[in-house]
Symmetry: C2
Subunit: 325 residues, 2 copies
């Protein structure tokens, strides 16, 4: 029975705990704010796909340090991607990493694998693009919508066979647990494809404190602007050699919102962070993207302005959070 430690046991983490447990793994969740509830009652999940009132009760620890001494087959990070933060996520999970542990990153953003690959140069690094609309409405209680899909592959793409095998084994557990995992020989194009949505809707809605549909309808230029940022992401991906990432992918992302009725719409996850003065995934989603563009000599004025604004907002939110504390 594979032993899995799951770090970041929020919305995504709870669903993955459920799927992997169903798939036959022994899952231990690192819980922070929801420790007491999950320790006592596990997670309660209402899922549009799998049904209401699903219960799953993993082993629970408070920190990766508490999980030291077990030979974990997989350590999965479902926490927010905060490259450059201190302490780093690699530092935090280090006590739980043994030579045989594969590290699975179920996180948003681009080039977020670098600091894990540097910290654990001999371990398998598995990178995943997560499609999973889910919210932890109160500690341990989770609501999940209609989409569930995980796209994974090794980082880097040309990893050794043992690491490739490790990806396939993980996908098999996931699939056995009623999840949808697709293995890619090179998962980076999949991350770029997801970034088209994340680097546009997320920061723009957070800055304007708006639902996607309200941002889209705010001015005659809105669609052109949002789409313009998507196309900048496409240009960067192409400059990185991912020529399969084309404008059509942006079209699909626009269409998803355009068809919504005006009084509905959704708040992308970064808006909740912005409204509640929580740290946002600014560097993973926007900062790294802009830096890659600079390195490749790609002009991305709209992304650059977005980065300036969302970075300043993240910092001013931090100041307000500190003042409240």
């Amino acid at each position: 029975m594979p032993k899995i430690l799951l770090f970041g046991a929020g919305g995504v983490g709870s669903i993955y705990t459920y799927v992997l447990t169903q798939g036959g793994a022994s899952v231990t969740a690192v819980c922070r704010s929801n420790y007491e509830t999950v320790k006592k009652d596990g997670f309660t999940i209402n899922s549009a796909i799998w049904g209401e009132g699903i219960q799953v009760k993993p082993e629970v620890v408070r920190t990766p340090e508490e999980a030291r001494g077990t030979e974990w087959d997989y350590v999965i990070s479902c926490s927010k991607a905060m490259p450059g933060s201190s302490p780093s996520t690699p530092d935090i999970i280090k006590p739980a990493i043994s030579p045989r542990t594969a590290i699975v990153l179920c996180q948003n953003g681009i080039h977020i694998e670098d600091e894990f690959a540097k910290a654990f140069p001999n371990n398998a690094i598995i990178s995943g693009a997560v499609y999973l609309p889910v919210t932890q409405t109160s500690p341990g209680f989770v609501t999940h919508g209609y989409i569930e899909r995980l796209e994974i592959g090794t980082y880097p793409a040309d990893a050794v066979k043992a690491h490739k095998d490790s990806v396939q084994t993980f996908a098999d557990i996931f699939t056995a647990g009623k999840g949808t995992a697709h293995v890619f020989d090179d998962v980076q194009p999949r991350r770029w494809n997801k970034l088209i949505t994340n680097a546009s809707w997320n920061p723009l809605c957070a800055l304007s404190r708006s639902k996607d549909i309200h941002l889209l309808n705010s001015t005659p230029s809105s669609k052109k602007m949002i789409y313009g940022i998507m196309l900048e992401v496409v240009k960067i991906a192409q400059a990185c050699g991912y020529t399969d990432i084309i404008a059509k992918h942006a079209d699909a992302q626009m269409e998803r919102v355009v068809v919504q009725i005006p009084d509905r719409g959704i708040y992308p996850s970064m808006v909740g962070d912005a409204l509640n003065l929580r740290p946002m995934e600014v560097e993973a989603i926007v900062g790294n993207t802009v830096r890659i563009a600079m390195e490749k000599g790609v002009e991305v004025p709209l992304l650059e302005l977005t980065y300036t604004l969302i970075k300043a907002l993240d910092e001013s939110n931090r100041k307000r959070r500190d003042e409240k504390a």
Copy 2:
């Protein structure tokens, strides 16, 4: 003794009440939230230029309707510029306008004069760019910094001589009251010059909820982005034929902030509106600017993105304000 009705008796309005009263005019202020205080005790002004504890006690009314029947020489609007709002400011001040009344607009933004000129085609319209750092800290109590300058001229620039004379008379009263009024044959270039600052710092700081210096330091791209928006404003001004507006004016506006020490900085006025869910001068400062660019065929991607975001923020703030009420 010229009779002046002042609409929008907040920070700027209180200072102008003081200056014009000192200059020999009879000033009546239209007061809303500060009516009781100003009716009883007038305004109390602490000014870095003129001194502490200055008192000025104008006549006070609650609405322009209350001021009907008097032949006002000047009706000055110091309220926020909200072109397109309903009821419009022209509608609101209409009861106080007689054929002899000159209408003075001491307001931010560009092309804000249009709806006044349409509503009062035979009256003198006087347009002013205001430089006056001032805050009403509580109803009737005002703090004013080191700068005081009013640049005025007729709208349109080729007005009849009687209207030109009306500008000069107003400037003379202002100057007699220790104010600094400069009359321009065409005041529009002066409005564009002020817009360089207003269309950049104001919305960008409001979106990021930041002080100017913190926005400037947020990313390696920040200066380029802020300056980029300033240059877009310069390009539009030039396309409108105001070829005296050049990049040098943007340089001066950047320098003013660059020299600030990092833990200081200021919140441009739009930030206060954003943080307190008050309406922002989005159309006057950004929307009209973008529309003029479109008409002239000038590409302004950074301003367009700024407009999309600040317009959506203004609308989401309105929704939050309505929910609170």
